[in-house]
Amino acid sequence: MVVTDEKTIENTDWEPRIVGFLCRWCSYAGADLAGISRLDYPPNSIFIKVPCTGRVDPTFVLKAFADGADAVFISGCHLGDCHYIEGNYKTMRRFEILKETLKQLGIHERRFQLTWISASEAQKLKEFLTSMTSSIKELGPIQLPILAPLQKEDKQDD
């Protein structure tokens, strides 16, 4: 049986922390455009610029979750538009396997998303971030079914 995270904390101060991996050629440029176009979007995401979404090793995603991210997303060029021809296809295939694995490890599928945003789609980025942030707010803080640290107590009873 898989233990999934649940919405338990009703803390109004809590804000989700989202890590986004954006490719240098499309999505990061799209985020730049959103900035110079003065579009408003929720400030909960930290963007990490990568040369291509194909550079995103599944380890990066796991590390982000392990270090406390409430959600992770990957955003790259539309399929067929990859600067490196097939980097985003690789990402698309890895994403599916990783998503299934994370589900089994107890991470809700909405916490890990993949999207394609081109350099001109600032509006799409805004909409994506708005809907992702509100959906993570609904889910609440991530509660990884982690190993509890083992207490150190040397029992010497005979």
């Binding site: 982690i146 190993l147 509890a148 083992l150």
Partner: protein, 318 residues
Amino acid sequence: MTEKLKLAFYWAASCGGCEVAILDIDEKVLDVVAIADIVFWPVAIDIKYNDVRAMDDKSIDVTFFNGSIRTEENAELARLLRAKSKTLVAFGSCSCYGGVIGLGNLSSKEELLHRAYITSDSTDNPEQIKPQLHYKEVHIPDVLPANYALDQVVDVDYYLPGCPPKDTLVWSAIEAIASGNLPAKGAVLAPNLTVCHDCPREKHDERTIKEFKRVYNFQPDETKCLLEQGLICMGPATRSGCDASCVSVNMPCRGCMGPTDQVFDQGAKMISVLGGLIDSDDPEEVKEIVSTIVDPVGTLYYFGVSKSLIKQSGVKRR
């Protein structure tokens, strides 16, 4: 003449296969006895825990500890043997990475006990009796909330992975200990290469997977790469040292040797590999192909759930 080495062997949450692996060195065991005294080995010699407690601290030269930490007794003995030993070697995959029983960390302790004593198909337990920790003067050790690798409980000096460790690795470890020619603390006593490096099968750089297959209903070609035939072989993400034992008998690698030194998370690396092998550019078809992976965690983290990035993020050593 110098004093003989003092060796100890212990099994925690283990199947006993590691004990057999020690005997797999065959007649060389006589050479071991020539240079060393075995001071503690519950499976073979009759020495009680209290005899170990009575030993001086650091009086055992090397302890080979197999099995993971799943009960209070395991944890207590791990701490005791750490205190009594100069060198502690995590022996076998359970002790190094939590092992196959680490998969139990996908469920809580209560769920596991409920499954084992109430709902499993072979159980006939109408009164729903579960084991009690105390009965009159008898006390039995409790099950811990999760399954831990040895180094999540105590400091470990060396790692000797494998399920069970290969006899050649066991012997070279014993030789290294006898000669005092050991690597730096924290080293894994096995080559830092992948299983693919030793694998004799033909490999092509092609994407070929249209469906993931399983060994029970698929007979793979004996000369071609198993991954290219659609079986999930953990070879690319797994340390060598096993002489590619499983792939040489037409079985895919399960990943028991754990990741190489450069890798943080074995399963994540394997996901990378599989992503590069699925032969489809259509997102819907990819979804369908991925759905043929039955039990991704059980396949990609067969031995490593306890040490996976996600599951160990809450563990602080001791």
